[in-house]
Amino acid sequence: MDIELKNVHKWFGSVHANDGINLKLPGGIIQGILGENGAGKSTLMKILSGFYQADEGEILLDGKPVKISDPASSLRHGIGMLHQDPLDFPPMKVIDNLLIGKEGGLLPNRKQAVKEFKDLQQRFGFDIDPDSYVDMLTVGERQQLEILRLLWLGARALILDEPTTGISSLQRIKLFETLKILAKDGMTVIFVSHKLEEVEGLCQRVAVFRRGQVVGEVRPPYKTMDLVKMMFGKVVSADSRVYARSGENKLTLDSLSIEDYRLHIKNVNLGVQQGEVIGLAGMEGSGQRQFLRTLGGLMRPVGGKILLGKKDLTGRPYHTFLESGISYVPAARLEEGLIPGLSLTEHFILSDESRKFMIDRSKALTVTQDRISSFSIRGTPVSLIEELSGGNQQRALLALLRPQIKLLLLEHPTRGLDIESAIWIWSTLKERCKTGTSIFFMSSDLEEILLYSDRILVFFGGKVSQPIESVETSVEQLGQLIGGKGFQEREEH
């Protein structure tokens, strides 16, 4: 199917997310959509798939203008979208997930559906049991299921939004093979990503987005530097390592034990130096989050002590941790960090530690404008926080931190951000280290952990490794530890 977009505009409040997009997406090829976070690519895809309506502009399918008013009508037109997080029904059977989206018929023809499902699977070499429950599947398999479901429902164009996040490399290879087969069969495959290698390796065409506009359309052979330039308007490079640790122990963990309903972390002994960065590696759910929350005063340890300097914080309430100079930055920005419905200015007023009664609005405005420019937040003082893109929300979250912090705890500080924002965020964090802040952060990106940590702790099912000097290890070694191999248990006390 040929898809054509003409002069598409979309505003969210004062943010112009799509600014006159013109794009032709012919059938039979894999089309890459490249751009940093907040560049407008997700917005455009959501317009195509009916989640949003464009404020202006036209969508033509095979030359005919259509109106896509909701996701169901988008699918009726043959456009299927694979979301970053699978939109399925985990407690239900695979086959029922398939049938839910099917229109018409009070009584679904289950037998027929199972047969068609198996035929489809064969075509791509997938192996999902139609009678298993969705919550038993891996993320990669759920993605496969979603692709099959969309095809089964008659999709002739497939949009994939950052589809390689959270799946194994084997599943990624499988996914790419599948996409190639689909394109060969004449389908339009739209591959949205900010990962350069993937786009370069897979796509026959790439459209680059920046600030809501299409800034370039490129065909192979790709020159990486050119793509980067188009995405960011300038070339960025990763910081070389910065060391700020001072040798002086700032935080001491004395046989700290943490428990929740499924994890036991036992007897962690650790001294953390001033200015040191400690990366927490491990599969999601191996105990890193509980560990961070305990250090932040949000969970109470079942044993052991947390000492900041000489001060014993064990068992004290969160506010004492905060007042002592420990700050916690959660990954769920809009749920735990920011307050939807309040403006940027109001956020900065809330974060200032003034003991006054009345708010000085003009001073607050100055502070806000100042922070907006020094943290390069794309938004205005009156922008509501939920109107900002994810990357800008993350910048705002960091801009809200108190000026003097002794210990900073971060959950996935750069998850979902583009390279430029990630590098920028780490450069501000390293600045803090130079002034004596120690940092703990968890991340599922091993490169990030290797690049920015002084020492690394690997978590595996509640076990914590000995601290590893990051200069002495490699992605391979960490990868093995994360998988539970070569794990040296800490000595018990």
Binding site: H319, L322, I339, I349, L350, F357
Partner: protein
């Protein structure tokens, strides 16, 4: 779309809602075989027909304004203080207690009245604190806690009126023995209206407006109401702010109760809260929790309340027609708000 443009659209949706509510009520009136125009003109006459009538409007405006002011605080913190009726009642009981205790003493009436109001504030705040305490430490939703305590407050009132505080001889639904004239607030001319409650009510809404729009306290309260989890991580003591908002709202409810005792009924009656608490919830919703609009909208409600009193006498209609109009108005305005959002999205 420009800002002023969207404001005009918002306004026209509101005006449209009022027209629709009037139409709806007109249909209800037609069903009862009466003439809607007669009814509306009677309501207006009942409210503005004489100085005395208008004085009654203001008498009814004061408690409504006071409770709505308080409710803005709990709404800002994201709390539904359904228990406001009980808080008015307990405030009134505390006031009655002070007035009864001191009426025969040599303390000057002005001091007694002031002490009575302070006691009302304490009573309302205590009753609200109970709701807050149940919510914060007991995990009881404030709607259920508040509703339950409303019944308890009514029961206590009835027990006092028919028990310890009963009139000489026999207790009656007409309430406790009225206080001596010296304990009445001075009235304006021949009317039943006293200026002091009006001053207190206006000062109250001004304070709430400043609190919510210009202070750290107000902004933090809003943060708690919009996202408690983030507010907590930002360092706002969320439970303390929730308790404080209950205390403030309860205090305002207590003032309303005190004024009902001191300036309107001059005694404790069984239905001392007169439904002003629930009506206040409606007003707060109708103005979309904006302090600026509380006073005029509460006045409009007071006009309907007072104006419909004479419907049974003149037109043999039930006076609850005023209530029908009020509730239809709130429902339709909220409905139109939803319609406006969809409309603005399409624009």
């Amino acid at each position: 779309m420009s800002k002023s443009n969207s404001r005009w659209i918002g306004l026209s949706f509101r005006v449209g809602a009022i027209v629709l509510a009037l139409l709806f009520t007109a249909i209800v009136i037609l069903v009862t075989n009466a003439n809607p125009l007669d009814v509306f003109s009677n309501i207006l006459d009942g409210a503005f027909g004489s100085t005395d009538n208008f004085a009654h409007v203001i008498v009814s405006w004061v408690p409504l304004l006071v409770v709505t002011s308080g409710l803005l605080i709990t709404f800002a913190a994201g709390l539904w203080n359904i228990g406001i009726e009980g808080q008015i009642t307990i405030g009134a009981i505390f006031t009655t207690f002070i007035l009864r205790s001191l009426q025969d003493s040599s303390v000057s009436p002005a001091i007694i009245l002031i002490l009575g109001i302070l006691a009302g504030i304490i009573g309302g705040a205590l009753w609200a604190a109970l709701v807050g305490w149940l919510k914060v430490y007991g995990g009881v939703n404030e709607i259920f806690g508040g509703l339950g305590l409303n019944f308890v407050a009514t029961a206590i009132t009835l027990w006092l009126i028919f028990g310890p505080w009963k009139r000489p001889g026999i207790g009656s639904m007409s309430g406790t023995q009225p206080f001596p004239d010296a304990l009445s607030m001075p009235v304006i001319g021949e009317t039943s209206l006293s200026i002091w409650p009006v001053i207190i009510a206006i000062a109250g809404i001004v304070i709430i407006y400043i609190l919510l729009s210009g202070t750290y306290f107000g902004l933090r309260l809003k943060a708690v109401g919009k996202n408690m989890r983030s507010a907590f991580l930002l360092g706002i003591p969320t439970t303390r702010y929730m308790m404080l908002s209950f205390l403030i709202c309860g205090g305002f409810a207590g003032i309303a109760g005190a004024l009902q005792v001191e300036a309107v009924y001059h005694r404790l009656i069984p239905s001392i809260s007169s439904g002003y608490g629930f009506l206040g919830l409606l007003v707060a919703m109708l103005v979309n929790y904006q302090a600026l609009w509380v006073a005029p909208v509460a006045l409009f409600f007071a006009i309907l309340n007072t104006g419909s009193i004479q419907l049974p006498i003149v037109l043999k209609l039930d006076s609850s027609l005023g209530g029908v109009l009020q509730e239809a108005l709130v429902l339709i305005v909220i409905l139109m708000e939803g319609a406006r959002r969809r409309f603005m999205k399409k624009e």
